[in-house]
Amino acid sequence: MAKIFQPSPSLPPPVNSVGAVAWVRQNLLSSPLNIFLTLFSFYVLYLLIPPVVEWGVVNATFGGESKAACTAGGACWAFIGVYFEQFMYGLYPAEETWRINLALILLVVLIAMFAVKAVNKLYLSIGIIAVYPVVAYFLFAGGVFGLEIVETSLWGGLFLTTLLGVVGIVASFPLGVLLALGRQSSMPIAKSVCIVFIETIRAVPLITILFMASVMIPLFLPDGMNFNKLMRVLIGITLFSAAYMAEVIRGGLQAIPKGQYEAADAMGLTYWQSMILVILPQALKLVIPGIVNTFIGLFKDTTLVYIVGMFDLLGRIQAATHDSNWLGTTIEGYAFAGFIYWAACFGMSRYSMTIERKLETGHKRN
């Protein structure tokens, strides 16, 4: 019988080129510079992590009613616990805070209903955009159905931050679309009005707009007619982010090939039909990251209302850290606020990545 060639079994790959060892060699120790950078990074981590963990967890005090309870030398989280209600609702009367919670639950339920197939999405959208704000307003402000009236000056904390953010986002988006369309329009007067508005707003910082809203708007209104500060600040924030939104959307409009506009015209669509049915759906999809970035910027910018004397989350924390019973708890307060803002903004940016992927219809060049 002929001898059958029997290859000897292949040797395992060298230890250095697979598994954890190879990974470490490739990613951490590939060159002298890399070794130095790795050591440097470990040093930075060593400087940062142990003290923070020690302060924030090991030596921290989590419970307690006063500063006296914090004896361990680390973070005094009891401060957050004691002030938690104020950080969330501001000075909103404690027995009325169920109204805020109810409005929030209502919103979550309404949005969750989008997932239910049997619900008509058009009606649901109308409900959320047109009916919900009215309901929420009366829940917050009171004055109907025996609800006690709560002055807007008492609104504060995370509630105010969320309110400013959500109203700003919802109101600035359609305004931004209109401004962007106006700027792209062929009508010279409409175009210049939009350009002047957008460029003026974008040239100045938000603070000046907020100051204008809180100091100057009353001067421009006739005697006796006035609306409250929260409303004025909301208008300021909305106009401000609408200008930025308009520029983002303009980018999307410019990216749509001319053929799309011409095809829509050729179909006999009117201007608004072609915009709503053909151009905007494509343009907006292109600029989702930009739109979400504007939203994130707006959410972070709501902290500026503290400068014109409104107490949002940061404002309430700032006020609480000046409480003489709780001196020295500044870092705890800022860490708490920082975590909430970070979670909200980071969450928004991740969510935008998700919808970007979901709406991707394969026109992108690879």
Binding site: I189, A190, V204, P205, Y341
Partner: protein, 391 residues
């Protein structure tokens, strides 16, 4: 054309051109009417409240102190001078912030692209943390949580001739003596010589193909000539060293905590955004470009400098411009921690004392508008210079 036959039964309102005109006339009328209405209300309100108008107040004595001033300023000076002081503070912090943020951004952006896994992760954590936390919160953190917890002057932290305490950072203050003009002259001459050298080297390389290490030799030139000038003029610099007395630190140059907090917050925050821009810019350059450069025999440093960087810059510059603009505008947040910049001085104190809201807010908006315009003109010029020249 057939249009003539149908035009008779076509309503004028259905014609796109006519509708555009009608719409615009209505829009213009609304804008004019609203402006007129607001303006007349304004006049009536101002008259009612007895607020004078105009910019005469700029000549009146301000009567309030400004803690940080780079030009001479006392309480007896006018509102106009206070405005100039504040303007300088705003411009200084914006420019320094822009420089620092660019350095931080470039370093962090490159770090995110590093081969080193740990470095890339650390840079990612830096970027994702800082850009998702409001700037105002970060400023408060640096000012109230970090700088305010420094020891009182009596127990200053000492690094050599640097002192660190609640009142700021004290460093040696250079005082230039008479002969310093020679050093400056030497420095200027060396820079001119280096530019000439670089131009000569470039021209020679285009003509003959011979290469000359122009950048390294001009660096050497600048150092040698400046040092020489220092020696010749006999080191005409003296340092005013900060001295620790019993309860205080005297002398030297002081960086007040407000300034440090605003600068650190602005530059680390904007740096995080710039890092993302730099990273995206470099990633946007096709890998084929790098491969092509290598196959031409360019070494890595030349590949980066001649091939990747110029192409990346084209993508980087426009968003970088808007980050610079944001930084300049965000410097107004310094008002919240009492850094005496434009908003704090003009829209804060001056407005409160004079009550002239329109003039003060208008002045501020004008300044920020001009500042924004200047930065964008400069960056547009630079962008044009770097842009791709096509056939």
């Amino acid at each position: 054309m057939s249009d003539n036959t149908t035009s008779s039964n076509k309503s004028l309102l259905n014609d796109a051109g006519t509708r555009a005109i009608i719409f615009q006339v209505v829009l213009l009328a609304v804008v004019v009417f609203v402006s007129y209405y607001l303006f007349s209300n304004l006049q009536a309100n101002l008259a009612n409240q007895g607020i004078s108008t105009g910019f005469e107040f700029l000549n009146q004595p301000a009567g309030f102190p400004i803690l940080i001033h780079l030009i001479e300023y006392t309480e007896a000076d006018s509102y106009g001078r206070a405005f100039i002081v504040a303007l300088i503070n705003t411009v200084v912090i914006s420019l320094m912030g822009i420089i620092l943020a660019t350095i931080i951004g470039v370093v962090m952006g490159l770090a995110r692209l590093s081969n080193n896994w740990l470095v890339a992760r650390l840079a990612t954590v830096y970027v994702e943390t800082l850009r998702n936390i409001p700037l105002l919160l970060q400023m408060f953190f640096w000012y109230f949580a970090v700088l305010a917890t420094l020891p009182i002057p009596k127990n200053s932290i000492i690094f050599g001739d640097f002192f660190l305490n609640k009142r700021g950072i004290y460093s040696p203050n250079p005082i230039f003596q008479d002969g310093f003009g020679i050093v400056i002259a030497g420095f200027v001459i060396s820079i001119i010589a280096s530019i000439a050298l670089i131009i000569w080297a470039k021209r020679r390389q285009t003509i003959t193909g011979l290469w000359f290490p122009a950048y390294w030799s001009s660096l050497g030139l600048i150092i040698v000539i400046t040092l020489l000038a220092l020696v010749v003029s006999g080191f005409p610099i003296e340092f005013d060293l900060p001295q620790k007395s019993r309860f205080n630190v005297k002398g030297g140059m002081v960086l007040p905590p407000e300034f440090v907090a605003v600068l650190v917050a602005l530059s680390t925050y904007t740096g995080a955004f710039i890092a993302e821009i730099v990273r995206a810019g470099i990633l946007s350059v096709n890998w084929g470009q790098t491969e092509a450069a290598r196959s031409l025999g360019l070494k890595d440093s030349l590949t980066q400098r001649l091939i990747v960087l110029p192409q990346a810059l084209r993508v980087i510059i426009p968003p970088l411009t808007s980050q610079f603009l944001n930084l300049a505008k965000n410097s107004s947040l310094g008002a919240a921690i009492a850094y005496p910049e434009l908003v704090a001085v003009v829209m804060g104190t001056t407005l409160n004392q004079t009550g002239q809201a329109i003039e003060n807010i208008g002045l501020c908006m004008l300044v920020y508008g001009t500042l924004s315009l200047t930065i964008s003109i400069f960056m547009n010029w630079y962008n044009k210079k770097m842009s791709l020249i096509e056939r």
